[in-house]
């Protein structure tokens, strides 16, 4: 009995130690937290169906699959989600009408609908991080996107052109990787709700790791369109538990629907 108790106590102590974020933190040789890993996907690869096997794949819409109102229900649910979004960018009051108009006509205006890049910060957190001394590589499975973030102390590239993902430099603030991005083209949106911006936008992303959890946060400044900085809703990711996990190539984007859209219905 005593032996069983001592084993139990030892097991609990080990569990408590493993649960400690400080001990769980993996670090690189230069002492920074190691953010490397695949922060997306599933542990096991999807098993393909056998030839000749029937299947049913239902995209979730909260109604009977035979409901004739199912397309309407999709739009209604999406609009509800958007209306309930508590964290909208702080646009200047005089721009509210423009945002609404772009939102109402998003099917024709949202650059992401038409296969343009999402751009920073709409890209959100990376799917994989490869961290080396002086350089952090961010990989995004969606649209096969990459970003290279120098962390060797250099300043922004004064010669850089404006691009969808901008010019980024990184630095460590304690255990947080801070990525500062400027020179972002005004062609991208911040979200599908007509959230446009100017080319004076400046984005600061923060990545921090606690054990197998990664938190991504972003602050967006745009003095042309916002009344104050916008703190995007942080996103929390879980490390893919399969050490051999690989990102998959995203198929190309080929928009073919635009010419066939005949109503203003949207979600």
């Amino acid at each position: 009995m005593a032996r069983a108790m001592s084993s139990l106590v030892a097991a609990m102590a080990i569990a408590a130690l493993c649960a400690s974020p400080a001990l769980a933190q993996r670090r690189t040789a230069d002492g920074h937290p190691d953010l490397s890993g695949v922060w997306a996907g599933r542990e096991e690869a999807v098993k393909a169906l056998a030839p000749g096997q029937s299947t049913r794949i239902l995209f979730p819409v909260r109604t009977n699959p035979d409901d004739k109102r199912i397309f309407d229900e999709m739009d209604r649910a999406a609009k509800e989600r958007q209306a309930a979004e508590p964290n909208k960018p702080p646009y200047k009051p005089e721009l509210a009408g423009k945002v609404q108009l772009l939102s109402d006509k998003r099917q024709f205006n949202d650059p992401a609908f038409y296969c343009k890049p999402l751009g920073v910060p709409r890209l959100g957190p990376p799917s994989q991080i490869v961290q080396t001394p002086g350089l952090v590589v961010l990989l995004y499975q969606g649209r096969n996107t990459f970003r290279t973030i120098p962390t060797d102390g250099r300043a922004h590239n004064a010669e850089a052109d404006w691009t969808w993902n901008g010019d980024s430099v990184g630095r460590w603030e304690g255990d947080t990787l801070v990525i500062d991005t400027a020179k972002l083209v005004e062609d991208s949106w911040l979200g599908a709700d007509g959230w446009f911006h100017s080319n004076k936008m400046h984005v600061v992303e923060r990545l921090s790791r606690k054990g197998d959890a990664l938190t991504w946060a972003a602050t967006v400044e745009d003095p042309v369109v916002f009344t104050k900085a916008w703190e995007m809703t942080p996103r929390n990711l879980k490390l893919n538990p399969n050490p051999k996990a690989l990102l998959e190539e995203d198929p190309p984007c080929l928009e073919q629907d635009g010419p066939h859209i005949v109503t203003d219905d949207h979600h």
């Binding site: 922060w39 997306a40 996907g41 599933r42 999807v46 098993k47 393909a48 169906l49 000749g52 096997q53 029937s54 299947t55 049913r56 794949i57 239902l58 995209f59 979730p60 819409v61 909260r62 109604t63 009977n64 699959p65 035979d66 409901d67 004739k68 199912i70 397309f71 309407d72 999709m74 739009d75 099917q107 992401a112 609908f113 296969c115 959100g124 799917s127 649209r143 599908a192 996103r235 929390n236 990711l237 879980k238 998959e248 995203d250 198929p251 190309p252 984007c253 080929l254 928009e255 073919q256 629907d257 635009g258 066939h260 859209i261 005949v262 109503t263 203003d264 219905d265 949207h266 979600h267």
Partner: protein
């Protein structure tokens, strides 16, 4: 006949990613659910692309005249998570497709079910199976 149910909600839970949009636009704005159509023909091409996979079909009428149709469905990621690959979508085979026509009258429709010559079916659609009528 074995059916596998996969939902986007499960995919999101497992991937830890933000919910992917099904349609990058409203299906209502492009397709008419009251105009269902059954197309019988040969699959001439499968376009495994974002934001929607396309299946192209040559449909012959009684006199042998061929009409070309395009049938679109969910994004490739949704199909992959459901165990489908592009080679399972019937390239070169004769199939029967249940779909809903585009509102603009083009030979374009949104897929619900592909039935193959051997009787097996791929239903790629929307909804909540728990709300189906018994």
């Amino acid at each position: 006949m074995k059916y596998i149910l996969w939902t986007g909600a499960m995919a999101v839970a497992l991937s830890g990613a933000a919910a992917p949009a099904l349609a990058h636009h409203s299906l209502q704005s492009e397709y008419d659910i009251n105009q269902s159509i059954t197309l019988k023909g040969t699959v001439t091409k499968v376009d495994w692309v974002n934001p929607h996979v396309y299946v192209y079909l040559d449909v012959k009428d009684d006199k042998g005249a061929v009409t070309k149709w395009a049938v679109t469905t969910l994004p490739p990621g949704n199909l992959r998570r459901g165990g489908l690959t592009r080679d399972l979508l019937g390239y070169g085979e004769t199939v029967s497709i249940l779909a809903f026509r585009a509102r603009d009258g083009a030979n374009l429709a949104f897929l619900r079910t592909i039935t193959f010559a051997d009787g097996h079916k791929l239903e790629i659609w929307l909804g909540d199976a728990s709300k189906e009528n018994p």
